[in-house]
Amino acid sequence: MREHREAMEEISVREATREDVEEAANLVVRMKKLNNEFDPLFTVVDDAPERAQSYLSKSLGSKSALVLVAVKGKRVVGVLRAEVRERNFYKPTVGGNITDFYILPEHRRKALGNTMLERASKALQKLGAQVVTAEFPARNEIAVKFYSKRNFRALTNIYAESRE
């Protein structure tokens, strides 16, 4: 019965609160681990869960950051973190950059990604962003596909050479 009731519950997207941090941080760590699947230069540190919690907590207190969560019942099933950045030399001069975006597998393919992205774009605009960007590892083909499908294009390249 419990599962049935849960299945019936709608997913809502809202700004994160302190109570969401622990679960949202777990999702951020999952995303970082996914990045590692594509590139060994994204090997996740052991204390990533604590770091993610601290990172999200700080974001919640920042006026230039945004943390959205998708919630089903009381469970966090998706997270999106973004921040507003000044673009010193370029126009538009203010950008909204999505730094973390993760949805649990069983809630994918249901347009939840679109909903969260739309919601984030609007919120970032309100914070002054004139362009929305998304940051992810170049080899993360899932992210490339997701954003390309939504008319995002590659903007900056960061090349790396491991010296280890």
Partner: protein, 443 residues
């Protein structure tokens, strides 16, 4: 003779006899050669006329050559029996054995064809290039998850049936055994809770086929070496990238979100399908004891099942099946693949659908039922040779219903035709043995 000793004896004989006979199969002419003149009919110049006709209509290659009855058994030798990655040459004796079964039980000319290929791309390219000579492809002993992609791609691009016996064959025969087990224990498939131990080719395919046959995927639980599969498991993203077939299974099954290991997965379960790794201590008595009343337990690992059948029965299982012939209820692909290809070839099928496999499984189950169901006899054995033409006819009819047949025939005609071919195959072997053209094995 004790089981271990019998196994050793079979191995010793296999090596000795293989050397004596120089392999297990060979091609044989099927037309008269009365004098050298006959070669001008079967070969040049006469054969050119046949070639020209086929050039105009390639479908005639099914009528004027042995293509209608030919398949290839293809492997890269990456997961052979319980031996693992032994390479294509070492896989050849196994493929020859399969070819022998195809001919003897299904009358199908199956060429053993291990190939040396480095990756999926090359595998697909190589196999698809063989289409003009064949009526079907049997993929064999290729490692998971590579085998899923190969099957999917080849099925998508070839116009002849491509069959992976470790996936579809095993799943089909599991379904046949489940049909009769449910009948004996008075269960409905849609209400049955099925736990599958192991997430290799067989069980991943079994989840799909059982679902197609009416089982509720939400009532299925799959357990692998890391525990119960569920959509929130930590390795889900890894699976998405490395084994999307298993990822889909994790999303579709375990509606109750049960977590833990086999013990939790078996609590109250009606059926266990173990296709994991050799036992005999992989499944514990206490785990089976936690299953529902009148439990059904399939222990399919070879050579040693995941637990001994006697232990499963002692723990309360009512029906127990294994992959071995020396225990009751052998759930083995050999009961299905010769018939499925016999049926598919006889209607020149373009593919083998899940619908055809389900129809075959039902027919196998019906055959066993006609002979009398008991907990120790839920499925026919390879000795029940009449099952093959019956299943072949059912498969042929289903292929026509699903629009996958190039040729039309009634069930009666198909059954008669299949019976003739299979009987001829058995008779030919008998005569070759009687005339000592095939000599008796060395002492």
């Amino acid at each position: 003779m004790p089981r271990a000793k019998a196994g050793e004896e079979a191995s010793r004989k296999a090596v000795r006899y293989s050397a004596f006979y120089g392999g297990k199969v060979a091609t044989t002419p099927k037309v008269p050669i009365r004098s050298l003149d006959d070669f001008s009919i079967w070969y040049t110049p006469g054969v050119a006329a046949v070639s020209k006709m086929i050039q105009r209509d390639v479908e005639l290659s099914f009528e004027y050559t042995n293509r209608w009855n030919s398949i290839a058994i293809i492997t890269d030798g990456s997961r052979v029996l319980g031996l693992g990655k032994i390479g294509p040459e070492a896989a050849l004796p196994v493929m020859e054995g399969k070819s022998l079964i195809y001919k003897y039980l299904g009358g199908v000319d199956a060429f053993p064809l291990p190939i040396r290929v480095a990756d999926v791309e090359k595998f697909v390219e190589t196999v698809s290039s063989l289409e003009p000579a064949l009526g079907g492809i049997n993929l064999e002993d290729t490692e998971s998850p590579k085998c899923f992609e190969i099957l999917e791609r080849l099925r998508g691009q070839m116009n002849i049936p491509v069959w992976h016996d470790d996936q579809q064959g095993t799943a089909g025969v599991i379904l046949a055994a489940i049909y009769n087990s449910l009948e004996l224990t008075e269960r409905e498939i849609g209400e049955t809770r099925i736990t599958l131990l192991g997430s290799g080719a067989a069980n991943i395919s079994a989840v799909r086929l059982l679902g197609e046959a009416g089982a509720d995927k939400k009532k299925m639980i799959v357990v692998d070496s890391k525990g119960i599969l569920h959509p929130e498991r930590e390795d889900m993203d890894q699976l998405l990238l490395r084994n999307r077939w298993k990822y889909e299974v994790a999303l579709a099954t375990n509606g109750g979100r049960v977590r833990g290991g086999l013990e939790e997965a078996l609590k109250g379960a009606d059926v266990l399908v173990a296709a994991a790794a050799p036992g005999p201590h992989l499944v514990k008595k206490r785990e089976v004891a936690g299953m529902a009343r009148r439990a059904i337990v399939f222990l399919l690992a070879n050579p040693v099942p995941e637990m001994w059948p006697s232990d499963a029965i002692a723990a309360g299982a009512e029906i127990v099946a294994t992959g071995r012939s020396d225990f009751p209820n052998q759930v083995n692909n050999s009961i299905l693949f010769p018939a499925i290809f016999r049926g598919a070839l006889d209607v020149r099928a373009r593919t083998i659908t899940d619908g055809m496999v389900i129809a075959a499984a039902r027919e196998i189950a019906r055959f066993a039922k006609d002979k009398g169901l008991t907990p120790k006899r839920i499925i026919p054995t390879m000795l029940d040779w009449e099952v093959y033409p019956r299943v072949a006819a059912t498969v042929g009819v289903k292929a026509q219903e699903e629009g996958e047949a190039r040729k039309r025939a009634s069930k009666l005609e198909l059954g008669r035709h299949a019976r003739e071919i299979i009987e001829r195959s058995r008779k030919t072997l008998r005569i070759l043995l009687e005339k000592r053209i095939i000599p008796p094995p060395p002492r």
